[in-house]
């Protein structure tokens, strides 16, 4: 058992007071290793909340640098950070909240050739990527490495998320099969997003990670949670594992990862 310092007891007091979390739950958080894929609209709130929660080791992957157009929703990046690498900018804010953490930056473009090596050794992965091919790649790699995953996606006023525990619950590919054809992906003019929607969904994903680590509550497994911020309607859709899923089914046909083609208009949106 960890001997918490006085400062730690005070910092984490609101977790320790929770009946379901307690001292044991906080200990699990401090020992956990979590990877955030994308330091954008979703990755920023995820990173800040996981850091504040005391998740002991947090990895963050992004190859991009901070752009002025990111600041409307990517809440860990400040005006002074424009031009800086997103992972370094996010790391700086996470450590400013909680200096006792280890933050590992991966300033790379995730692809079939490097993803398994990067995610290996983490207890939980959060997907905050902005394109379908990478979402499938993250899902497939997590299934192969047997690492639980929170999928998240936002567009305009909408958000959706599901939690995947490989071998036990439905995966992203069970539900969505394959990336949509490039002409079905929204064009630039359709690709706005309300900034706060990123925070709404990112914090739901962060809560799922904290629940998984501490073993509290019921995860969004076999469930797609969707919401629309215009009406504030939230909906849970029951999902089922597909026996013929090419990655997590009985006879997987995807045995090696591959890089799917990006949409023709490569949106520089970084949701």
């Amino acid at each position: 058992m960890i001997d918490f310092s006085e400062e730690q007891l005070e910092r984490y007091s609101r977790h320790i007071l929770l009946h379901d979390v307690g001292v044991e739950g906080q200990e699990k958080l401090l020992q956990a290793r979590v990877l955030i894929v994308g330091a954008g609209g979703l990755g920023c709130p995820i990173g800040l909340y996981l850091a504040a929660a005391g998740v002991g080791t947090i990895g963050i992957v992004d190859s991009d640098t901070v752009d002025l157009s990111n600041l409307q929703r990517q809440i860990a990046h400040f005006t002074k950070d424009i031009g800086m690498s997103k992972v370094e900018s996010a790391k700086e804010k996470m450590l400013a909240i909680n200096p006792e953490l280890t933050v590992i930056t991966h300033q790379v473009h995730l692809q079939a050739s490097n993803i398994r090596e990067i995610i290996r050794g983490y207890d939980f992965v959060l997907d905050g990527t902005d394109n379908f091919p990478t979402k499938f790649l993250v899902n497939d790699a997590c299934v192969m490495e047997n690492i639980p995953l929170s999928h998240g996606g936002i567009l305009r006023f909408d958000g959706q998320t599901m939690t995947i525990v490989p071998g036990r619950s439905t995966c992203y590919r069970c539900t969505f099969k394959a990336p949509p054809p490039p002409d079905a992906v929204p064009t630039c003019s359709q690709a706005g997003v309300l900034g706060a929607v990123a925070g709404m969904l990112g914090t739901i994903q962060a809560a799922e990670a904290l629940k998984y680590i501490t073993g509290v509550g019921t995860l969004l497994t076999d469930t797609l949670l969707t919401f629309n911020a215009k009406t504030m309607d939230f909906r849970k859709i029951k999902l089922h594992r597909q026996a013929n899923c090419p990655i997590c089914g009985e006879k997987p046909t995807i045995t090696e990862l591959f890089d799917a083609e990006q949409a023709a208009c490569d949106l520089k949106c970084s949701f």
């Binding site: 058992m1 918490f4 007891l9 005070e10 007091s13 320790i16 007071l17 009946h19 307690g22 001292v23 044991e24």
Partner: protein, 77 residues
């Protein structure tokens, strides 16, 4: 008087940090062992015993001390 297995003095510790210390002290005990917890009069003694019971533990004794503080004997669930 019942013999305590551990003592945590929370005099001059306000709510809710006194409850945090109580939980930490209890987490170090085995089920059935007894924690002696000292609490200030006022909000601490009015709030902490209820929270301790909500977590499933049993309050065996509640005694007023000479200095006005309270002694609780808690049996861990």
């Amino acid at each position: 008087m019942t013999k305590a297995d551990a003592v945590k003095d929370c005099r001059h510790v306000g709510c809710p940090m006194n409850m945090v210390y109580a939980k930490v002290a209890l987490s170090k005990l085995q089920s059935g062992q007894i924690l002696e917890l000292i609490l200030d009069d006022g909000p601490p003694i009015n709030n902490v015993p209820g929270s301790v019971q909500k977590e499933g533990h049993t309050i065996l004794e509640k005694n007023r001390l000479d200095d006005g503080a309270w002694q609780l004997l808690i049996k861990k669930a």
